[in-house]
């Protein structure tokens, strides 16, 4: 199963700001290097980028959840 993993531990967010739309919707196709989420670590925000192109099959973490480094956060489907 192809996934996108958290590159650091922190708090996971699907939007750039609370009132903004999500970076990507389920089912959306994404390109390599595209920002798909944020991880907040101790007040610093780090963008999570896709390392390969694909389709977002499913987010495996809820908005606002704590994630660990290496944890799968998105399951990718076929392009």
């Amino acid at each position: 199963m192809a996934t996108i993993k958290a590159q650091m531990p922190g708090v996971f967010y699907r939007r750039p700001a609370p009132e903004k739309p999500v970076y990507v919707e389920d089912g959306e196709s994404i390109s390599a290097g595209q920002t798909i989420a944020l991880i907040e670590v101790m007040k610093t925000f780090n963008e999570v980028k896709a390392d390969t192109p694909g389709t977002v099959a499913e987010f495996l973490v809820e908005d606002g959840d704590e994630v660990d480094v290496g944890q799968d956060i998105v399951r990718l489907g076929e392009t």
């Binding site: 700001a17 101790m42 606002g64």
Partner: protein, 447 residues
């Protein structure tokens, strides 16, 4: 005032609980999911769970805090620093619930939290401000204002603070491009796209004055701190008093802070921040309407317990000393030990503290909210401990700081200890010859 709810976490929650208990007050701690085993939770008389780990769901949730105060019979709220400490709306909610807010009036928080209003207050108090503009709405307005102020300028968000929402701009061409970006950023970060210009000053030191004001209208200062060793406007080392400050400048800058506090009808503990230029001019930057992280160095050189004075003032009592009773005794330095990786651009890194051996001895104070085995959570800031070293003179304080760092052992997370060891041996630090960009020039690879 009988029972104080401590609306914060970590070392400052511990600090407030200590002061409250010493004053014979009862305490109520609050904690999120992540902080159930926090040291402050154990030290308080009672503790209330206020929500999930994310700060927005707990320490920033004023309704949960009001409810915690109500359910425990607390009659006062101490906000500490960060979180709700400078949010006028929260202060008002506490007041409306009949709680004493340990801090200034709601209107003072509003005024000093608005950069333009704060500058105006300073001007009225006869306190010099950095040459700058009012709000600039479009590029033409910004260009005209920048011509008056003089390049290089800083483009600043009116609602910003703590070093956030600031962009340096070198030229008119850059300004035209930077303005819309700065406005968008300000809107996203602070829900307010008001920006203004300020002259960028090279080689300036960050000098801040600690003041106290009580309900009788007495305003005193406990001298200044020098917080020039900064990385991306985050302070790493703070000193009191400011090294090498001419007596005349010291008197003038401390007096200016007191004048501003009087002008705004200040109440409680506050800090007035200034830039001091290489030529000895100083300009008001902003006022922090709360206790600050680095308050212990002022305590070390004056013998004043600032948090206990905050509680006295909130209870309507007078400040326990007069201006003439307080002088500078020796020198003090504070080192912020953060869970950050200096080899990776100071990336904050959560983890479990597998070891935490703290230094001790004369003139060494450590304020921390952690013990070995605790987790440094990703939800909150990266500070593990503050090491405060003082002595009869600056050389002794710095020597004690070197020894304290040799004794300090933190394992389980990367820390800024190695950077502090290096900085204390830097000739410029020893000579007190630093400014706010000094560290970034010394360690450009970490930016």
């Amino acid at each position: 005032m009988r029972r104080v709810l401590v609306a914060n976490r970590g070392e400052i929650a511990v600090r407030i609980i200590r002061a409250a208990h010493a004053a014979g007050l009862e305490t109520v701690a609050v904690y999120s999911d992540a902080d159930e085993h926090g040291r402050w939770v154990q030290l308080a008389d009672t503790a209330v769970h206020i929500g999930k780990s994310a700060a927005a769901k707990s320490y920033l949730n004023s309704a949960a805090l009001v409810e915690a105060a109500r359910s425990t019979g607390a009659d006062a709220v101490h906000p500490g620093y960060g979180f709700l400490s400078e949010r006028a709306g929260a202060a008002k909610e506490f007041a409306d619930a009949g709680l004493t807010f340990v801090g200034p009036a709601v209107s003072t928080i509003e005024t000093m939290g608005d950069k333009a209003a704060a500058r105006e207050a300073a001007r009225r108090a006869g306190v010099p401000v950095v040459p700058g503009s009012g709000p600039v709405g479009d590029v033409d307005e910004a260009l005209a204002a920048a011509d008056d102020v003089g390049y290089p300028v800083l483009l600043k968000a009116a609602a910003g603070g703590g070093g956030r929402g600031i962009r340096p701009v070198a030229s008119a061409a850059e300004l035209a491009e930077a303005l819309p970006a700065a406005q968008a950023e300000a809107r996203a970060a602070f829900s307010d796209d008001t920006v203004y210009l300020e002259r960028a000053i090279d080689g300036a030191r960050h000098i801040e004055v600690q003041i106290l004001a009580d309900t009788a209208g007495t305003v005193v200062h406990t001298f200044e701190r020098d917080c020039s060793v900064q990385r991306r406007r985050q302070k790493l080392i703070e000193e009191a008093p400011a090294p090498g400050l001419p007596a005349r400048t010291r008197a003038d800058i401390n007096d200016a802070a007191v004048r501003l506090a009087r002008q705004v009808g200040y109440l409680g503990a506050g800090t007035v921040e200034f830039l001091l230029t290489p030529s000895g001019e100083f300009f008001f930057i902003e006022m922090n309407t709360r206790i600050q992280v680095e308050h212990p160095i002022s305590e070390a050189i004056t013998g004043v317990d600032l948090v206990s004075e905050q509680l006295r003032i909130a209870a309507g009592e007078p400040i326990s000393f007069g201006q003439d009773d307080v002088g500078i005794r020796g020198a003090a330095v504070e080192l912020r030990i953060n869970a950050e990786d200096p080899d990776n651009r100071f990336q904050p890194t959560p983890g479990t503290l597998t070891r935490l051996d703290l230094p001790g001895g004369p003139g060494v104070r450590v304020d921390t909210g952690f013990v070995a085995g605790d987790r440094i959570s990703p939800f909150y800031d990266s500070m593990i401990a503050k090491v405060i070293c003082s002595g009869p003179d600056r050389d002794t304080a710095l020597a004690r700081a070197r020894q304290a760092l040799a004794e300090l052992r933190v394992e389980g997370v990367p820390t800024t200890v190695s950077v502090h060891r290096r900085l204390l041996d830097e000739p410029d630090v020893r000579a007190g010859a630093v400014h706010t960009r000094w560290l970034e020039e010394l360690m450009p690879e970490t930016l």
